[in-house]
């Protein structure tokens, strides 16, 4: 089936008006992800099944994020960027990447920021809504990826259910100068392929997202991570990163860093 796309804002507005007040409830066979899920930190935990994990923090404080550039999952050019970011942070200059400067957070980077999320489930479309900057990700259900995915900030996500799990497969995530995978500004290329498995756990109190990342242009191996979110009773609040943000004007100072050239046509 051909995937239809409409402008994000128009689609979201029309969808919300068309639906009944509550979310379209999942039927008995579909797992229910309704509610508000709060990501308390940006830390990626080790993958549940073992194996290579995400770049880990080496700075003593979480609010000055410095990643381990020697992590073996990183190809040399990516390690150089993580090292450079860490040096900037240690010198007192926040690294210039998307989440600092209010650009979009795609997957899995969107989970590298504390935020809240809601999941709106309808049979053909699952919409992930994030408090931070009212970002949305669309997951087109039970269909394959397009033959030629045009790279974009959020990429193309398709999904299906496996018992109690929502499986989301994303490709076509454009590699922009400000793109980031994690809290440490780890970069990627447009070959990035991310699989997320969402599952409610701990008696309904937690939402666990098991993430698998492949990018033969940036990483030496497939690696995994676990992002956990807590059920929250706090409604979304308005969150506008660009407002009163002194860091929004900083630009990437990576001119001399070896970056993979991205192939997005725009």
């Amino acid at each position: 089936m051909k995937i239809r796309r409409v402008p994000q804002v128009a689609f979201t507005a029309s969808l919300l008006f068309a639906l009944a007040p509550a979310t379209l409830a999942a039927d008995e066979k579909t797992p229910d992800f309704s509610g508000i899920w709060q990501r308390q930190s940006g830390k990626f935990q080790q993958p549940e099944g073992g194996g290579p994990g995400a770049v880990e923090q080496v700075s003593p404080r979480a609010d000055v994020p410095i990643g381990n550039y020697k992590n073996p999952i990183l190809q040399a050019w990516a390690a150089a960027i993580v090292k450079h970011n860490g040096e900037m942070e240690a010198a007192g200059q926040p690294m210039p990447e998307a989440k600092t400067t209010c650009w979009p957070g795609s997957t899995p980077g969107v989970f590298a920021i504390p935020s809240s999320m809601q999941i709106l489930q309808t049979p053909k479309l699952v919409t992930l809504m994030f408090q931070n900057d009212h970002q949305v990700r669309f997951v087109y259900m039970n269909q394959p990826h397009s033959a030629n995915v045009k790279p974009s900030w959020y990429g193309e996500s398709v999904g299906h259910y496996e018992s109690d799990t929502l499986v989301v497969d994303s490709v076509g995530i454009a590699a922009k100068p400000m793109s980031f995978i994690d809290q440490f500004g780890t970069p990627h290329t447009d070959k990035l392929h991310v699989v997320e498995r969402f599952r409610v756990a701990d008696g309904g109190k937690m939402l666990n997202v098991a993430i698998t990342v492949e990018d033969p242009g940036a990483f030496t191996t497939k690696w995994g991570a676990l992002a956990t979110l807590q059920r929250s009773r706090n409604d979304f609040v308005e969150y506008v990163c660009a407002e009163n943000n002194p860091l929004i004007g900083i630009s990437p100072s990576v001119g001399d860093m070896p970056r993979q050239k991205y192939t997005a046509p725009f």
């Binding site: 308390q40 404080r61 000055v64 002194p246």
Partner: protein, 144 residues
């Protein structure tokens, strides 16, 4: 936030308690140094996630100038101001307070606000974030 007299890259950040990772780093603040500064509130900018306190205070030279303290997220999250007891009515222009903060590393007039002390000795802020696993507070009320 004021750029004019303070110049480019004047930040203040509020860590009411130690923040978990935020959407931007706090690297520009000197976490090893804590300063207490007496002054007068000029303005509170309640914007989420970057709220600011503009504060008139005398530095080492005795000259009263404007300091900018970043206060971080207004609402939501473990260190949101609302969860530390801040309400709009708590901090008003003209209030004489003592601001405790981590100063900017570049030496400019500003920092990361930790807490505010009132003339009666009461303190707003300065508490640790609510630990993971604890139930969140009831739905965030709108600022009064």
């Amino acid at each position: 936030m004021k750029y004019a007299t303070i110049g480019f890259l004047t930040f203040a950040s509020l860590a009411l308690g130690v923040p978990a990772s935020a959407h931007h780093s706090y690297a520009m603040f000197d976490a090893e140094k804590t300063i207490d500064l007496s002054g007068t509130v000029k303005e509170v900018q309640w914007t989420n996630p970057h709220s600011w306190l503009e504060f008139m205070a005398a530095g080492k030279d005795g000259k009263v100038e404007e300091w900018s303290f970043e206060m971080g997220p207004v609402m939501g999250g473990p260190t949101g101001l609302n969860r530390q007891g801040f309400r709009v009515k708590n901090v008003q222009p003209g209030d004489k307070l003592v601001a405790k903060f981590h100063p900017l590393r570049n030496g400019r007039l500003g920092g990361e606000l930790i807490s505010l002390k009132f003339p009666d000795g009461s303190i707003l802020g300065g508490r640790e974030p609510i630990p993971r696993g604890e139930a969140p507070s009831t739905s965030a009320k709108p600022l009064e």
